[in-house]
């Protein structure tokens, strides 16, 4: 069968691209160690969130679970994060549990690689290490409606010397 030279070139180009794309993902997963957010956070019915021990407290909830390990519970909803601000000590490892009662949201710690999708019905769980003290912005990066661009929060990573535990 005679295949035109241009068609062969296009086919070869497309195949090379596919190989490169798969290669990039493999490289990221195997060599760089990029980890996707798994479904290990479990599920939660959106209307059960107010009755759930983890999310029912309106105050910022950061719990110490290890020497330098913390758990934080956040509700992302149209168009705010509850709590809006979280405080954690410098050098801590924080596991976030984030869920949504309404639509898809994002939970991105600006300037870091901590970036999760918040799905109604699902608890997104991701662990983040905060090495340096400072104020980190949190933004919603999934379009969620008219007030999407106003949806922001912050994580205050305070120096160990100023940390007085909890919020």
């Amino acid at each position: 069968m005679d295949i035109h030279r241009y068609e062969r070139l296009w086919l070869a180009g497309a195949l090379v691209l596919i190989v490169l794309f798969i290669g990039t993902i493999t490289y990221g997963a195997v060599v760089v160690g990029v980890e996707m957010v798994s479904a290990s956070g479990g599920t939660i019915a959106p209307d059960e969130i107010p009755n759930d021990d983890r999310f029912s407290d309106p105050r910022p909830r950061v719990e110490q679970v290890g020497e330098n390990e913390y758990e934080a519970y956040v509700i992302a909803r149209q168009f705010l994060f509850q709590p809006r601000q979280l405080r954690v000590p410098e050098g801590s490892t924080v596991t976030f549990y984030v869920t949504s009662p309404d639509v898809l949201h994002g939970f991105e710690v600006v300037g870091t690689n901590a970036n999760m999708m918040v799905i109604p019905g699902q608890v997104t769980k991701a662990t983040v290490e905060f090495e340096e003290a400072g104020s980190y912005g949190v933004v919603c990066n999934e379009y969620c409606g008219a007030g999407h661009h106003t949806m922001e929060g912050s994580i205050e990573v305070v120096p160990q010397s100023e940390w007085e535990g909890g919020n």
Binding site: D102, V103, Y143, G145, A146
Partner: protein, 181 residues
């Protein structure tokens, strides 16, 4: 060598219509892009903040979905007819496809633009990604579904057996046409 539009006048007409539709979508979509650029740079904020995502949705849907697919359908119709050296098997199907795509586009666009008028209880500010469970007016999805089905009908007609050959014989030499093989 005869021109495509002389050999396949009916197909050429459909292709012209589809191309024209794609460029109308490109024009309107680009206009909303320009308005946003003027808004975001603060040069000329014509869109009110509450309408920003309405404009963004119109921009995204008209450019990423409607413009590209209308253009693709036009070019593909031309390429298939030219490569196979035969007219479309059934022009009625091509017309039906084009009609469905136009009706779908108009329906979807109306529901999006309805967001600009508070008096009209219609809006579809869901961007072209339209992630559930965020909801737009049902007409938004219905229109896009019609548009999609239109592309299926168009695609179905490209590869069906049948279809008349060119009205004039090509001078570039004999090629095997499906109906002769």
């Amino acid at each position: 060598m005869a021109l495509f539009r002389d050999e396949y006048p009916a197909e050429a007409r459909i292709i012209r219509l589809a191309l024209a539709s794609s460029f109308v979508a490109l024009g309107i979509g680009a206009l909303f892009g320009l308005l946003q650029a003027l808004n975001r740079t603060g040069v000329l904020p014509l869109i009110s903040p509450t309408d920003y995502y309405t404009a963004l949705t119109a921009h995204g849907v008209l450019l990423a979905l409607i413009f590209t697919i209308f253009f693709l359908v036009a070019v593909f119709t031309w390429a298939v007819v030219r490569s196979l050296e035969r007219g479309l098997p059934d022009l009625r199907l091509a017309k039906l496809a084009y009609g469905l795509m136009v009706i779908g586009t108009v329906t979807t666009t109306v529901t999006i633009l309805g967001g600009f008028v508070p008096e009209i209880p219609m809006s579809a500010d869901v961007l072209y990604t339209m992630y559930a469970p965020m909801q737009a007016h049902p007409g938004f999805y219905g229109g896009l579904a019609l548009f999609l089905i239109g592309t299926w009908v168009a695609g179905f007609d490209w590869f069906r057996p049948g279809g008349a050959g060119a009205m004039t014989t090509r001078t570039s030499g004999f090629r095997c046409r499906p109906s002769w093989c």
